[in-house]
């Protein structure tokens, strides 16, 4: 395992001052992929993305080409929706892609829409990111004026309209069916699947593809260089590169694009070009490998490669590419409480187990951390967890429409399994033992 010299596919322009402008984007090869795509049949473009074997970068990791292939033929209108509602704690990549290279995303949106024969696309950006809105709005205006978006694009006879849409503060809207509800002007509550698989019954009940910002930002590179070149990076199972946000107790927190499958968690956390090791020479207590929803990892997981299959098998997930590192001084109860608090706050309230369960978990965790925990609180936490996610297994089973509720179980079950003694000490001594 090593730090590889794989090229930067999607962060290559992050240091280019004018990359967000049309002139800056075109000067570094921008919109050549669109020209190339429009010169071939939509099916050929779809085949290229399938060959790239790119897994969705939003959290679930479903192959994008396969997803596009799910659209029923000959049903129109059909839509592409871009999920830019980045809000999973620990996750910080889509905002950067929107702010620093908006045309790269727009070119990806154009190519994807062409491949799936859509004539309208929606870019849904989290409301709390106005600078990203400004950059994307300005880029869209330039791209329309230049003829890259709109009627009869570059003489191809194909037309696309792209609508920029803002959210207004709700994590749940990152779930694709909730995002569709929100885009229709409703409360952002997930729909039941089946029957509401977006590819069949999505936006306005029409066939819809929902893709993450990072996923679509890879598409211009894939079209320019070929699906095989993308698939040659990383491993057979986890192709390409991926952006990881490395936060918490490391010397160099940052956003790093690394090659999948060949780079390990240890490389990411310890290599001088990435995290540079744990701060103040301390040891590792735990790390979250893929955002707040992911079960925690420990010392023994450091040498696992950043590969979907490997991490899934080890009992967690790469999720949204968010690695949060906790050093040995971290109170595991306090850290888990902070993650649970998030899910309790963000539960949309549609499903009873989640609405009630996440809040119960927070209340119980809170009293333990505050020193008023009870002897049977650990059993109670696990009982509530089991009601949210029967068996507390991985991958989680769920008693809810979407995975938000079971996600709240991850930090609770992880920390109790590994740090039971800390919980017991909090309860016995009636205080936080790490203060």
């Amino acid at each position: 395992m090593a730090v590889t010299d794989a090229p930067k596919l999607i962060t290559a322009r992050f240091d280019q001052e004018d990359a967000h402008t049309l002139a800056g984007y075109e000067s570094s090869g921008g919109y050549t992929a669109l020209r190339k795509a429009l010169g071939s049949a939509p099916d050929a473009v779809l085949a290229e993305v399938k060959a790239a074997n790119i897994q969705g970068r939003g959290g679930a990791g479903f192959p994008a080409g396969t997803k596009w292939g799910f659209l029923p033929p000959d049903v129109s209108p059909r839509y592409l929706v871009v999920n830019g509602d980045e809000s999973e704690p620990g996750t910080y990549k889509d905002r950067l892609l929107l702010e620093r290279d908006p045309h790269q995303l727009i070119e990806g949106v154009l190519i994807a829409s062409y491949a799936i024969a859509a004539n309208q696309a929606f870019i849904y950006i989290r409301g709390e990111m106005p600078f990203a809105h400004e950059r994307v709005a300005a880029a869209l205006n330039e791209a329309y004026a230049a003829g890259y978006i709109g009627r009869d694009i570059m003489g191809s006879g194909w037309s696309l309209d792209v609508v920029l849409h803002w959210g207004a503060g709700a994590y749940i809207v990152g779930e694709e069916t909730a995002l569709i509800e929100s885009l229709e002007g409703n409360r952002g509550m997930p729909r039941l699947k089946p029957p509401f698989f977006p590819a069949v019954k999505g936006l306005y009940m029409q066939p819809t593809i929902v893709n993450n910002v990072e996923t679509l930002s890879n598409v211009p590179w894939i079209v320019n260089n070929g699906g095989a070149a993308f698939a040659a990076l990383g491993t057979d199972e986890s192709a390409g590169t991926r952006i990881f946000a490395l936060s918490g107790h490391v010397r160099r927190p940052g956003v790093y694009e690394v090659e999948m499958g060949k780079t390990t968690f240890r490389d990411l956390i310890e290599a001088p070009v990435y995290g540079g090791g744990i701060r103040n020479g301390r040891g590792l207590k735990a790390f979250i490998p893929g955002g707040a929803s992911a079960p925690w990892f420990y010392e023994e997981h450091l040498d696992l490669p950043l590969s979907k299959a490997t991490v899934d098998k080890a009992g967690s997930m790469l999720g949204s590419g968010a690695v949060v590192v906790m050093d040995e001084t971290t109170c595991p109860v306090r850290a888990a409480l902070r993650v649970v608090r998030f899910f309790a706050h963000e539960s949309c309230g549609k499903c009873t187990p989640c609405r009630e369960g996440t809040n119960w978990l927070e209340k119980i965790m809170h009293r333990i951390e505050e020193g008023t925990g009870r002897a049977d609180d650990l059993d109670l936490l696990l009982d509530v967890s089991d009601n949210l996610s029967p068996g507390i297994a991985w991958p989680p089973r769920q008693t809810t429409i979407c995975p938000l509720g079971p996600s709240a179980v991850s930090p609770v079950a992880s920390s109790i399994r590994r740090f039971r003694d800390d919980y017991v000490a909090h309860i016995d001594q009636g205080r936080c033992t790490h203060d």
Partner: protein, 195 residues
């Protein structure tokens, strides 16, 4: 205050025209109302209901779901301090404590002069830049206590207006589509909406 002014009504019609179905314009119009008044009043929701052919309760139903919509006045500057897990590990709690002292506020409260509202918030997607906060959703990364004090002093003195518009104004760049460039086929063939 309240109902959208003439300029914003014209803008509202332009926004509505961007979507295959009118209700999709609801969240954008609520943002527009909040931009006009700094918050979303009952009068604004009634007006939006008229514009979208919805009932006021349907508008309230959507509005009340989303945290950014404030249904009562807030400070001119909304200070959102992140204390989610990554920021907690990186000093977010200490940053919040400093903001409380500096503004003399507990989270959720507004200063008597109506200038600042302080909030403790969940992840704002700046996890590698802890500790961090937003003022009217403009980011301040890896901010020190001294920088916080200087920022608040500047805002009290009426400074930084170019950088931080008043609460309610999000983007200052709007999407402009020349009708010549928009084919307008997005909603073509869409079945009639059931009423």
């Amino acid at each position: 205050m309240g109902r959208l002014n003439a300029g914003n009504v014209a803008l509202a019609h332009e926004i509505i025209g961007r979507y295959p179905r009118t209700k999709s314009a609801l969240i954008p119009l609520l943002h527009l109302a909040q931009e006009q008044d700094g918050w979303v009043s009952d009068e604004a929701m009634v007006h939006i209901a008229e514009l979208l052919d919805l009932t006021p309760s349907e508008v309230l139903g959507t509005c009340s779901f989303y945290e950014m919509f404030k249904r009562e006045p807030v400070g001119r500057y909304l200070v959102n301090v992140c204390t989610s897990i990554a920021c907690m590990l990186g000093g977010g709690d200490e940053l919040l404590e400093h903001c409380e002292k500096s503004l003399g506020l507990t989270p959720g409260a507004t200063t008597a002069d109506g200038l600042f509202t302080l909030n403790e918030v969940e992840c704002i997607a700046a996890c590698t830049e802890a500790p961090c906060l937003q003022v009217n959703y403009r980011y301040f990364h890896r901010i020190t206590n001294e920088e916080v004090d200087a920022l608040f002093a500047d805002l009290r003195a009426g400074g930084r207006s170019g950088e931080i518009p008043p609460h309610g104004t999000l983007t200052r760049v709007r999407q402009q589509v020349d009708p010549q460039r928009w084919d307008g086929r997005g909603g073509e063939g869409l079945p009639e909406e059931r009423s």
